[in-house]
Point group: C2
Chain length 271, copies 2
């Protein structure tokens, strides 16, 4: 019998299935960054079925902040076979946030006790995938180099509303030299399902960011001389849209505690 996988034995070489099993067995409750290198990690949104069509439309209209990678096999069904045969979305994320009427009411390690037969799960692509592609190309990702969370900002860029859902776009920022930014635009353009090409670079005020050193979410990073801030649409956007919609109940992953899928990052490449 093989040893059960714990936080100590999980690493970049672990398979997505091994990581999910460790999480499901409550042996791992932390950030998933750096685990199962090469595989897509996803943001999670769970809503009641009555809001699912609106949210799906919101994703369809705003693919850069809300790139839909996979959905529940059916309402109430905790399987998401598009992400991995054995996925049980009630237990395979290290930490969940539960919101009632838009307010955080619980932070839990599984949601089996509160599962409803009308829950619909959405998996959205996240920046881990494109950060991996950029690092593999030799581009420094400052938040990783400095060991902090990526800085994220509210902007004045309006998303297209859909039913109950509306939000201004939240963006993440990574500073780099212009020549690296040009290369990053090329690389990220190949990955529309993980936010795609940046939405802005340069002057932050043009998108309503007035203090680059005070991000609305995440941590400040150093911008070196000769670098420009480069902004990507961010997966916090749908969370803002849900917070604005104030559904009776909704569930998301906790930041950094993602679902690791069986999809390889390279499989999301359109080119």
């Amino acid at each position: 019998m093989s040893e059960p996988k714990t936080a100590n034995t999980l690493n970049a070489l672990s398979s997505p299935r091994d990581v999910r099993q460790a999480i499901r067995n409550d042996l791992f409750r932390s950030h998933t960054s750096g685990l199962a290198k090469g595989y897509v990690q996803c943001n999670l949104v769970i809503l009641e079925q009555e809001l699912a069509a609106d949210f799906l439309l919101f994703c369809q209209k705003n693919p850069k902040p809300c790139p839909l990678v996979a959905m529940s096999d059916a309402p109430g069904n905790p399987r998401i076979s598009g992400a991995g045969k054995d996925v049980d979305i009630r237990s395979d994320v290290p930490q969940y946030k539960v919101f009632e009427h838009g307010k955080l009411t619980a932070q839990v390690n599984d949601v089996q006790d509160i599962w409803q037969d009308n829950f619909v799960s959405f998996l959205l692509g996240c920046s881990f995938s494109f950060e991996e592609a950029l690092i593999d190309d030799g581009i420094e990702i400052r938040n990783i180099a400095e060991g902090v969370n990526v800085p994220m900002y509210n902007t004045t860029i309006a998303c297209k509303p859909a039913g109950a859902f509306s939000a201004n776009m939240v963006v993440s920022m990574r500073p780099m030299k212009a020549s690296d930014a040009i290369r990053a635009i090329q690389i990220c353009s190949r990955f529309p399902n993980v936010h795609g090409a940046p939405v802005h670079f340069g002057d932050p005020e043009l998108i309503g960011i007035y203090d680059i050193d005070n991000p609305d979410y995440g941590d400040r990073v150093t911008i070196k001389p000769g670098e420009v801030p480069v902004f990507w649409a961010c997966g916090v956007t749908p969370q803002v849209a849900i917070s604005n919609a104030k559904p009776a109940i909704s569930i998301t992953h906790s930041p950094g505690c993602m679902l690791i899928t069986d999809i390889r990052n390279s499989q999301l490449s359109v080119l």
Copy 2:
């Protein structure tokens, strides 16, 4: 018998062959911008055979400023079948510049009288192709909107030397909003044979440009509030390299007076 094509009858809808014939018959001696829309127009360099290998290597090492589209069928042969079956490079460019030992000694409408049996012709991609792709995507090209030549600048970006040839890169500049610049990077990345993606954007001093309003070649254009200057490698670079090498004789097209080929712009797209 069809009417001979003149400057008055040539336009965007003319075929490349009709334009070349009009030029060959001395019925057209002007700028080729806007003629035979959809077809690749090329920069021309003619060198003696003893320098051809070095120049070819210079192009190979510096594909962004020197994207080689086609070459003479053989030394001394005025045909370039890779550009069009009937091309006669001695007569099919509206105006040529002749240089001796790096100095301009003549500006002529054909080079039949001075043709040598050791001449090798190089056709290099030019910005007309990617400007057309950007305009077709709805992006304003300021030099076209303002009816002037694109501004071009010497930089501190060193090209890789090859034999007799060395130069710092010359760049062209087009100002645009960041979101248009991101789109322009995506579009131009598909066209490596016409300079490809930009090499820089933003702070001009980072590449040795200290007065953006005083270009070294071409004309000043307006940079509007909220726009950034975006810089592309420019076909003037090989001319600088040739001027540095001071060959006994060399011939180029006059600026804006290009060879129009039978190659469609879309055929140069790598994606």
